[in-house]
């Protein structure tokens, strides 16, 4: 059984389209997303609609949570929109009732069974959606994050740094990011996990996507040049 895991789409629709096409080409039977569907990019509505349409099972990311909090506090949202045009408030202002309902229905994590393997999907870690899991993670650190009820396969995102590694018998997969890479490679990433019985083999796949439209939409929606370069170059821009 092949399952594709995505994360950190960050409202980048063309990247999500490519990710789903790649997952389908690789033979994935199921697609799960580890949070941060929205924020930063210009296509929040389009991304949520596509995730819903394709039946992608998702969890909530830290940015999704921020946007949802604004949606649930319209007074604060209006105030923020008047004061400054931050990305979460702008994103929240776009979302309609259906997108709002989808966001508010997202769980913090998903615990599922694939074959004989117990799988935990969360955005950061069980410690919180802002917690990071990097390739340097040690057995002790992992144990302290997962606690006593550790899964056989742990899938996360948030750091935007994709990797897969086995730590103390647990397969750890960070899907990286579909829409906003930070490692200097502008291609998106996804993880494909092949499960046979109790064996889980994971591989990170990188994919290119047409980014001209994304840049055009970011510009059209008033994104600063730094943000546009971040998307196009796949790296964080240093503050002057």
């Amino acid at each position: 059984m092949k399952v594709a895991f995505l994360s950190d789409i960050h409202a980048n629709y063309p990247a999500l389209v490519q990710a789903l096409e790649l997952a389908s080409r690789l033979g994935a039977e199921r697609v799960l997303a580890a949070g941060d569907a929205v924020g930063s990019g210009p296509h929040a509505v389009e991304v949520i609609r596509l995730l819903r349409q394709k039946g992608v099972e998702s969890v909530m990311g830290n940015v999704d949570r921020k946007v949802l909090a604004l949606l649930e506090d319209p007074k604060r949202l209006r105030k923020l929109l008047r004061k400054k045009h931050s990305n979460p408030s702008w994103t929240a202002s776009l979302l309609g009732p259906e997108e709002h309902a989808w966001l508010s229905g997202l769980p913090f994590d998903r615990r599922i069974r694939l074959g004989e393997i117990d799988v935990l999907v969360t955005h950061g870690s069980p410690l919180g959606d802002c917690d990071y899991v990097y390739p340097s993670i040690t057995a002790d650190a992992l144990a302290s994050k997962l606690g006593p009820d550790s899964p056989g396969l742990f899938v996360c995102g948030h750091s935007h740094v994709p990797f897969t590694k086995a730590v103390s018998g647990i397969r750890v997969v960070n899907c990286g990011t579909v829409g906003k890479p930070v490692d200097g490679d502008p291609r998106g990433s996804l993880a494909l996990v092949e499960i046979e019985g109790s064996d889980a083999r994971a591989r990170i796949h990188r994919f290119a996507y047409p980014s001209e439209g994304l840049a055009e939409d970011l510009r059209k929606r008033g994104a600063p040049d730094d943000r546009i370069r971040e998307f196009l170059e796949g790296r964080k821009q240093e503050s002057p």
Binding site: V45, E46, R49, E98, P210
Partner: protein, 514 residues
């Protein structure tokens, strides 16, 4: 946002603008409809038809320049003429034949806007149109038109090309953001390419036809920061663009303004090659200039008659020429024009002319040198201003030297220098802070006066030549000779009048400047 008030006082967004997309080769029409359905845009067909539209405008693009399109669509019962863009909806008039309506809203509005200039067909578009309506996931309603079997024909040259299917989408009802969402899906989800404008601009672009009036594309405008090596190439490309835009209309003799604009562009191209010769390379410029001189001569043969023949009408009145004489004289000059036009058409359809345009294109598109010589690396804002200033100084220096009673040769040289100044100022117009023509307004009057004097002198020569060498070689009856003599007298009076006016203007000019 465009909006209209609802009875309850709320605001309902007005329908959006129509957006045009090109379908990729790998995406069939049914596949597109399937993808739309899958993305949450169920489509419902509301009919299909096969149409032929012909778009009309004037040589100067009176309609296009104002964002208007005049099209004629063939119907089973006749033709419908539509003027699109003049208000909320298109103006329409029905005609039984293909001719332009002689009355009605389209006739009135088009006549008012084109000021009676000649209208002719620019582009013909044949297509099958399928109409759909669809509702988006957010509840917005869209109107989708699919154009297949597209064939664009350049009605001036007869060239035609097929085109991949196009789709146009317009939000009819609902949140304006929904147009953006659908646009993102069509572009990134279905792989459609957004194209600017509708069928008409797409057709013009596909056939590489300049729009009516040949407005310069932004890419050809000289910007202040362009180095002179780039500016020279752009100025040459501008003239080439205008020459190409006016060639087919000149060959078809649709409107004398095509010929005039072709001549002006070829003259300016010569002036540009002279002005930028050191920057573009003398060895490349000189052969092109020689060929442009040949083109200017054949064009001049017809253009002079285009100016002369309409002038005859006022001279007939002044000289009291009888109707038979008028008909014969006008007929003789029309015959001369016919011959000159035949020579011109042959020249414009020749390999020599095609090669000339190719050479101009190669030079205009050649990459600028990395290490330019002379002032080639200077920005055109400063270098252009210096060139214009130099040209102004040369004009004024000669004018000062000519004194109170200028001779014919001096005036001829002054005309040449002034023309160079005009062209130089024109080339750098987009980079200059001010237009030097304002400074030299009096000299413009002097130049116009000299031009009219020259026209009268040429007219006298032309009339004398007709009297001495009539068509057919037979001598003319005395009555007709007298009529021609009277016309020469009328031209002489005009020449004298212009000469008198010139003396006054010249002394006014000298007083103002020296």
């Amino acid at each position: 946002m465009n909006a209209e008030a609802t009875p309850s006082g709320g605001r309902v967004p007005a329908p959006g603008k129509r957006r045009t997309y090109e379908l990729p080769a790998k995406l069939s029409r049914p596949a597109l409809l399937g993808r739309l359905e899958e993305a949450g845009y169920p489509v419902e067909s509301s009919g299909a038809s096969t149409e032929t539209d012909v778009y009309f405008d004037t040589q100067a693009g009176h309609l296009y320049r104002k964002g208007l399109r005049l099209r004629r669509r063939a119907l089973a019962r006749g033709h419908v003429w539509q003027l699109v863009g003049a208000g909320s909806g298109p103006l329409e008039s029905l005609t039984s034949g293909e001719g332009f309506p002689t009355e009605g809203p389209v006739h009135d509005e088009v006549t008012r806007r084109t000021k009676g200039n000649v209208l002719f067909a620019f582009l013909q578009i044949r297509f099958r149109q399928e109409r759909y309506s669809m509702t988006g996931p957010g509840g917005s309603r869209f109107d989708l038109l699919l154009y297949t079997g597209l064939r664009f024909t350049n009605t001036l040259s007869g060239e035609h090309k097929t085109h991949p299917p196009l789709a146009t989408v317009r939000r009819m009802k609902g949140d304006p953001n929904e147009s953006e969402y659908l646009g993102v899906f069509l572009r990134d989800g279905a792989g459609l390419r957004r194209v600017s404008g509708g069928l008409f601009p797409t057709g013009l672009k596909h056939l590489s036809i300049a729009p009516p009036g040949a407005p310069l594309p932004a890419s050809l405008l000289v910007r202040g920061e362009d180095p002179m090596t780039v500016a020279g190439r752009k100025v040459l490309a501008q003239q080439l663009y205008r020459m190409r835009a006016n060639t087919a209309g000149t060959i078809e003799d649709l409107d004398i303004e095509f010929l005039h604009d072709l001549r002006v562009a070829s003259r300016r191209a010569r002036a540009a090659l002279q002005l930028f010769r050191d920057i573009l390379g003398r060895r490349r410029c000189e052969p092109i200039r020689r060929e442009l001189k040949w083109v200017a001569d054949v064009l001049g043969g017809v253009r002079d008659l285009d100016v002369f023949i309409p002038n005859l009408d006022t001279r007939y009145e002044a000289a009291l020429v009888n109707p038979e004489g008028r008909a014969w004289i006008t007929g003789a000059f029309r015959e001369q024009r016919k011959k000159a036009l035949a020579e011109l058409v042959e020249a414009l359809q020749s390999r020599r002319f095609a090669l000339l345009l190719q050479r101009m294109e190669r030079l205009a598109e050649s990459p600028p040198p990395r290490m330019p010589r002379g002032n080639g690396a200077l920005p055109s804002h400063s270098a252009g201003a210096a060139l214009v200033e130099g040209a102004v100084k040369r004009v004024l220096k000669l004018a000062r030297k000519m004194g109170d009673a200028p001779d014919e040769e001096g005036l001829h040289r002054l005309r040449i220098l002034f023309k160079r100044l005009r062209y130089t100022a024109e080339f750098f117009k987009s980079t200059l802070d001010r237009d030097p023509k304002k400074e030299l307004a009096l000299l413009v009057d002097v130049q116009d006066c000299l031009g009219e004097h020259q026209d009268a002198v040429v007219a006298m020569e032309r009339l004398s030549a007709l009297a001495l060498n009539p068509p057919g070689g037979e001598s003319l009856p005395p009555g007709l000779l007298l009529e021609i003599g009277a016309l020469i007298q009328a031209e002489r009076a005009v020449a004298q009048q212009r000469r008198d006016a010139f003396d006054g203007l010249w002394s006014k000019f000298r007083k103002a400047y020296f």
